[in-house]
Structure formats: structure tokens, C-alpha cells
């Protein structure tokens, strides 16, 4: 593997992990909000 690929692997892993974590937190935040989609039905 070339240095560029190793570097891409390290940066990509960190970026993907943080992005997935943020998306998961934002989804949980929407679900937990009292006036979210579930709450809006009542």
C-alpha cells in the first residue's frame, strides 16, 4: 500500500466514525424529543 492509502485509511476511519456517531445522536435526539414525530400524533 502507498503512503496515500494508509493516510486515507486513518483520516477516513476517523471521519466516518465521528460522522456515524453524530448521525446516531441526532436520530436519538429527534426520537427523545417530547414533540417529535411520535409525540406529534397525540
Amino acid at each position: 500500500m502507498t503512503p496515500a492509502l494508509w493516510i486515507a485509511l486513518a483520516y477516513g476511519l476517523v471521519a466516518a466514525t465521528v460522522l456515524l456517531y453524530v448521525l446516531r445522536l441526532r436520530r436519538r435526539l429527534r426520537q427523545a424529543r417530547p414533540h417529535g414525530r411520535e409525540g406529534g400524533k397525540s
Binding site: 500500500m1 503512503p3 496515500a4 494508509w6 493516510i7 485509511l9 486513518a10 483520516y11 476511519l13 476517523v14 466514525t17 465521528v18 456517531y21 453524530v22 445522536l25 441526532r26 436519538r28 435526539l29 427523545a32 424529543r33 417530547p34
Partner: protein, 217 residues
């Protein structure tokens, strides 16, 4: 624009600047070549893991003392971030180690003490999740998090106290063993990850507080 959105935007802009500084504006290292660029994510993830552990320590002590659920939300949020960033530190270190040292892993004092921190903080999350009584789980999780923080000085000074393969600190009180463009890239990246940590912690605490209200906690 909310405080969280401001933090998120600031983190994104700083991270973009850090990527540019680390990949474009800084030169290759005389010995490591371009592999040094992995350090601009590896060192900041380790720094962020330290920040998360320090937050767990302070919030955990405050929770055990005051029994205020807000401190519990902060403790478990910081514990989760400590697991995330310690895991990323181990992974990025491994990705750097394979081409530079020739191995993914070696039983070096710095690596082993960092892996122990990762396992202790996984245990802190586990004892919370497995406890029958959530309040007991919160107390146990805080205690494990506080005990785990003792490992951080061991990690930091392992390269000084033991004969290790891992390089000693490049920035100490008396000396900075880095060329200015490399130092700028590293400091910008550390700043970007610090703001990212603040954003993630704020977001995670909001989720924890809302879920506590939902659970009647």
C-alpha cells in the same frame, strides 16, 4: 443559531482547516516521510480521549458527591466519548504502526496502557447497562470511570518511565521538537478536535437528559 449549531459549525470549519494543514500545508517528515500526516489525527484523538476521561473524572466525583442526575448524564456522555476516542487512538496508531514499525500491534508500554484504558471505559459502560437498578448502575459506572482515570498519567509517562518503541513527547515544557509548519498543523488539529469534543459532549448530554425525562428519571 443555537449554541450547539455554532459549536458544530466551528468544529467543521476547524477540521477542514486542520485537514488542509495536515495534508497540504505541512511538509513530509525527514524520517517518516508522508506517514507523519497520520499523526495529525492520531495525536488529537488521544488528546480528546484525555479530555473525555478528565470530564468523566470530574463529573463522576460530582455525581457521587451531590447525586444530581445532571452530573450522571455528563459522566455517562463523557465515558462514551472516552471509549470512542480511545478506540480511534488505538486504531489510528495501529494504521501508522503497520507501515512505519512493520507491525499492527506490539506489547509496548504506551500501547498496552492505552488498551487498558479502552477496556476500563468499556467496562464502565457495561456495568451501567447490566445493572438491574439504573441508580446503582450510574454509581458503579462513575466509580469505574474515576478509577480508570488513574491510567491516564501511566499512559502519558509510560514513554518516559519505560523503555518503549513509542516515541517520547514531541512537545514538552522545555522543548518543541517539531518544525513550525508541522507544529501549526498539529495545534490546529488539536484545537479542531477540542471544539468537536465540546460539540459531541453537548449533543450527547442533551440526548441523555431527554432520555432520562422519557424514562421518568
Amino acid at each position: 443559531m443555537s449554541g450547539s449549531a455554532v459549536l458544530g459549525t466551528a468544529a467543521m470549519l476547524l477540521l477542514a482547516g486542520a485537514v488542509y494543514a495536515g495534508l497540504v500545508a505541512s511538509p513530509p517528515d525527514a524520517f517518516q516521510g508522508d506517514y507523519v500526516r497520520i499523526m495529525y489525527v492520531h495525536v488529537p484523538t488521544a488528546w480528546t480521549a484525555y479530555l473525555a476521561v478528565a470530564t468523566t473524572l470530574v463529573a463522576g466525583v460530582l455525581f457521587l458527591w451531590k447525586r444530581d442526575p445532571r452530573y450522571d448524564a455528563l459522566t455517562r456522555s463523557a465515558t462514551e466519548l472516552a471509549v470512542l476516542f480511545t478506540g480511534l487512538t488505538l486504531a489510528t496508531g495501529s494504521i501508522w504502526g503497520r507501515p512505519v514499525w512493520g507491525v499492527w500491534w506490539t506489547w509496548d508500554a504506551r500501547l498496552v496502557t492505552t488498551a487498558i484504558l479502552f477496556l476500563i471505559y468499556c467496562a464502565a459502560l457495561l456495568v451501567r447497562a447490566l445493572a438491574d437498578d439504573p441508580r446503582r448502575g450510574a454509581r458503579l459506572g462513575a466509580v469505574v470511570g474515576i478509577l480508570g482515570a488513574v491510567d491516564v498519567p501511566l499512559i502519558h509517562y509510560s514513554v518516559v518511565w519505560f523503555r518503549t518503541l513509542h516515541q517520547p513527547p514531541s512537545i514538552t515544557r522545555g522543548e518543541i521538537a517539531l518544525a513550525p509548519p508541522m507544529l501549526r498543523a498539529l495545534l490546529l488539529s488539536v484545537l479542531a478536535f477540542t471544539v468537536l469534543f465540546a460539540y459531541l459532549l453537548a449533543l450527547r448530554v442533551r440526548v441523555a437528559r431527554l432520555e432520562d425525562v422519557g424514562d421518568g428519571g
